[in-house]
Amino acid sequence: MAGTSPSPDREPAEARWQTFLRHAHEPLFLLNRHRRLLFANRHWEECTGLSLPAVRGQACRPRREKASDPEDTILAALAPPAVALAGQTCRTRRRAPGRAAGWWQLDFFPIQGEQRLLGILGKITQLPSLPAVTSALPDRLLGLRDRHAEAFLLDGLASDAPVGQRMLEQARLASQATMPVTLVGEPGSGKHWLARAIHQAGPARDRCFAALDCRALPPPLLAELLLEPRGRRLELGTVYVREPAEMPRELQDRLARMPHAPDDAGRMPRLIVGHRTDPAESVRAGRLAEELHCTASILTIAVPPLRERLADFDAFIAVFLERARVLTEHTVAGVSPDAALALRGHTWPGNLRELYDVLRSACRRARRERIERADLPFFLQESPMPAEKPLPLDQLLEQAERRLIERALRQAKGNRTRAAEILGIWRARLVRRIDHFGIDVGGADQETEGTDNR
């Protein structure tokens, strides 16, 4: 514990950790719960180029701005993501800073105490750079790629909303493999961004990413890029095909028959497809080839609409204000409480894209350091304050309980003993609750009730 004298058992425990790490053949490092570096082994020193005595006790935290000190840059690259601090094992990939070239794969293993996080064990795996057609480009152009790639990091998807957390977990899984992925989400929900982030965290990240909009590109161009040798010369790592149902059927059939994983020669790109609506519905309507849907949907990720991610609303605003600064020079640093209330009261049918557009136009109008209600578009200024929705807990719980009991009774064909087993409760309790809710068990119950009282 920081700031207190060590307990008698502490030194032997630390010594055991150090012995353990010292004998490992991989670069390992140990952080305390405040993300300060406690120990690292020799392989870590070789990998990072840092000397442990020089950096012991320093914090591994992400920096908002690019650090000028190479030591800080390396420590920032070793910062555990929020999920690791929340106690979950996780893996992430980051560009190796300093003298090391290529990428690092970082594994974080939280060490939990009885009540709180004790520390985090980290492991670095150096990933070899893949050959890429762009390696022929000058460094200044490759620097543009790096700058662009930094805007699409999976760590930036950290979410407080359960649907967002599930999406992040699925995206991490997708990034660790090369199989085709299907993204389904409303327009503007961030499918393109997610596809790029999956590419960026995946094994093909050193190759390029291309997003092909099947509604905008003429079929001959699509065919060339997706199916013909000329397109393969680009050695793309991932192709994101937006709305494949809009492609001519013949192209869909040809695309379905192609292999869709990057090969050693780097000729075949990974396939990620994006749909605004349920692709199964498009298959039924005959717009999407079933074979292509089956090929591309090995892993399907539902991208939630903004209205289901309101827990992340403030984080989105902060990210978007920062992003808007790239083209639109402004000094806006936040949103006034009144404007925030108006923003939260909107239903956002255009999702993240709509929120970004609104914030960008508000930044242009804002005369102060924060966006006021008057800076928002008229339809938001006029939107009524969201009324506090009542959440009567007992009533909601009873509704849920009733639905579960009815479902169990249906499954058990009215047999109360079986239904009680399904629900994991005693039969007597189930009978009491059936009486309480006045549930009509029905004729099936009468037929099978005789078997209850064996």
């Binding site: 480009l137 390029c208 990413f209 083209l327």
Partner: protein, 124 residues
Amino acid sequence: MKQAQIISYGLEGPLAGRLQQMAQEHGLWLRELQHVSACRNLLRREGPAVLLLMLGRDVIAELSLAEEVGRASPETAVVVVGDADNPALAALAWDLGARCVLQPPQPVELLPEIVLRLLPGEQQ
């Protein structure tokens, strides 16, 4: 809603003529510019846009603009046109967020059609 704008940088000759004709026929607002900084200033205006970038004069400045637009103005469609067959540059332009990249021997005559398809409200 403001009218969609087409910003054309570095396009000259018959191709520029075809674009002018297309813009006239469809009543679109076409701005032909010769400086990257002028494109950047125009993109700060509100309203959706299609940005046509002919690579050649200052590739780094041109692709920097494409990168900035791809990152910060996703509603703006960037179309990159090259004057030579260069797979590395084409791959990079796609990577930086271009919605379409055209290089010889691809038929550059497709450009007006692509621009029309990329304009907001023109897609079905």
